[in-house]
């Protein structure tokens, strides 16, 4: 009966009994097969659970770390971005960096200085730089030194994780005006009249990059920066919305490598002169004893008011032309508004006008020049100070 009872003992109970016997009786026979089977069956479950927990914690750590980094980036970016946008006199979204390297998303300049090769003392570019598979957003600043020299760019990484090769690089900011968004991708524009510059940074989440299964942890942290140029808030009415909007606006050339002042040089549009109805600005201007022209007395001139495009400012002046057939100025030729270039020579002998050809201040809108009608005549009065007669030269 003892044997039979022993044979029918429950396996767990048998194992306990064997263990007890070893403890109590000094039995050194080792583990039973059942004990080993149980251990082998349970261990992978325990170890697997621990591994899963560890992976989760480590993954969470990476995400938190990225979030902290991006949060800090956002703080740094916000301070720098607001300061830069507030200071800017002109801006662009051209992709070629005005300062530094990479791909420019936003270019800003301020501190007008005609001695500087770029027209301003300070140039700041927000550029994207690809390192490995991750895009960083960097702020690079160059300042004018002297002559044609700008400092080498000083670089501050303001967003370490602004995109990757899977999700794409960060995008240029949105530039808003009262009349809608503008995209100055080929030119620089004045900041007057700009009501907001909005930068959206989308840090990617954990992303598979490269070989299948290879992932890069990411925070997925997104933030938006909005800057308002000081010029906009201090300028009063936006462009063209003054109390009496001018009928005409001066215009800018298309910016390119040959056009250093295109973003700041607003050319007067002379379209207001209507030559079709005989308006040639002629009057009875007199001449001084030295042969210099003397401005005619009022009201013999035409009052002109032109808005300075993309600014709240207005240029005004009174324009007139000397009369025909005076003793001091026997040959005065009338002028007419004309496009630039005034003269283009497709033959290529180099006799054409320089302004407006071959990329030099091209694309100026309207009629930005006053052009003589008749060859060989003098417009404006006076004689050539070093010429024996106006026609001898």
């Amino acid at each position: 009966m003892r044997v039979g009872h022993s044979l029918h003992l429950h396996p767990v109970a048998a194992a306990r009994k064997a263990t007890r016997r070893r403890v109590e009786g000094g039995n050194e026979a080792g583990f039973t097969l059942i004990e080993l089977i149980i251990v082998v069956a349970i261990m992978p479950i325990v170890v697997g659970g621990i591994a899963v927990a560890l992976v989760s914690v480590l993954s969470l750590q990476g995400g938190v770390s990225n979030k902290l980094t991006n949060s800090n980036d956002a703080e740094v970016t916000s301070a720098a971005f607001n300061r830069d946008v507030q200071s800017a006199a002109v801006l662009t979204t051209e992709t070629t960096p005005a300062c530094g390297t990479g791909t420019q998303l936003l270019g800003l300049e301020w501190g007008a200085n005609t001695s500087s090769p770029v027209g301003y003392d300070t140039v700041v570019s927000y550029n994207t730089v690809l390192t490995g598979s991750t895009y960083a957003l960097v702020r690079q600043e160059c300042t004018y030194v002297s002559g044609t020299t700008l400092t080498s760019p000083s670089t501050l990484t303001i967003a370490h994780d602004a995109g990757n090769t899977t999700q794409g690089p960060p995008q240029a900011p949105t530039i808003a005006t009262n009349s809608g968004d503008v995209t100055p991708t080929n030119t620089w524009i004045q900041t007057q009249g700009i009501t907001g510059v909005t930068f959206t940074i989308n840090a990617p989440g954990t992303t598979e990059v490269g070989a299948p299964g290879t992932t890069v942890p990411g925070s997925g942290y997104s933030y938006t920066l909005v800057g308002l140029p000081t010029e906009a808030s201090s300028s009063g009415a936006p462009p063209g919305q003054g109390s009496t909007p001018p009928d005409y606006q001066c215009g800018y050339a298309t910016a390119n490598a040959l056009t250093y002042w295109a973003k700041s040089l607003c050319f007067v549009d002379f379209s207001f002169i209507n030559t079709a109805d005989g308006d040639q600005l002629e009057n009875n201007g007199a001449f001084g004893t030295t042969g210099n022209p003397v401005p005619p007395s009022s009201p013999a001139c035409q009052q002109v008011t032109e808005g300075i495009t993309n600014t709240p400012y207005t240029l005004s002046f009174c324009i007139s032309e000397a009369a025909n057939n005076t003793v001091s100025n026997p040959k005065v030729g009338p002028v007419t508004p004309a496009i630039i270039p005034t003269y283009y020579d497709p033959g290529g002998d180099g006799s054409e006008a320089y302004l407006g050809n071959n990329g030099f201040y091209t694309g100026i809108p309207g009629d930005p020049s006053l052009y003589q009608w008749n060859a060989g005549l003098s417009s404006g009065g006076g004689t050539c100070p070093r010429c024996t007669s106006p026609t001898s030269r």
């Binding site: 005609t114 044609t148 007067v268 000397a322 030729g333 320089y354 003098s378 100070p385 106006p390 030269r393």
Partner: protein
């Protein structure tokens, strides 16, 4: 051409500061041609460089070999402060309110003359063309 009562004002009519009037040759100054610019006292004319990055001022736009006046081979701009006395020199610094550009260079222009003056109130432009002459006017903020 007489341009008088020149002003730049803001949206409420207040005079603006730190602006320059820029003017220059909008055609080409060839043999037997000239352009003269005159501003009011206190707003002298200086060169507004064509290409500051390379140091180019105005190429050969005002290169006149017939005057006998010493000038740079490429930059022959002449400045005059007293035309009645025939006082001429190459424009090298500020202080001139009377500037003339002459040329005997017919082909292969390498630049154009552009001048600037800070907040002038008047500008007189005299053009003499063997062919045709033209000028432009611009504001630099």
């Amino acid at each position: 051409m007489y341009i008088t009562d020149i002003q730049v004002t803001d949206s409420v009519g207040h005079p603006a500061n730190d602006w320059n009037l820029v003017t220059g040759d909008a055609e080409s100054t060839d043999t037997n041609e000239y352009i003269q610019w005159q501003t009011n006292t206190g707003s002298p004319l200086t060169v507004f460089a064509d290409n500051p990055a390379t140091g180019e001022q105005y190429g050969n736009d005002c290169y006149d070999t017939s005057t006998g006046i010493a000038s740079d081979a490429n930059d022959g701009l002449l400045a005059l402060n007293d035309p009645s006395a025939g006082n001429t020199t190459t424009l090298t610094s500020s202080g001139w309110t009377d500037v003339e550009c002459e040329a005997s260079q017919q082909l292969d222009k390498t630049g154009t003359i552009m001048l600037q003056a800070t907040a002038p109130t008047s500008l007189t432009v005299t053009m003499k063309g063997a062919g045709l002459q033209a000028f432009f006017l611009a504001v630099f903020l």
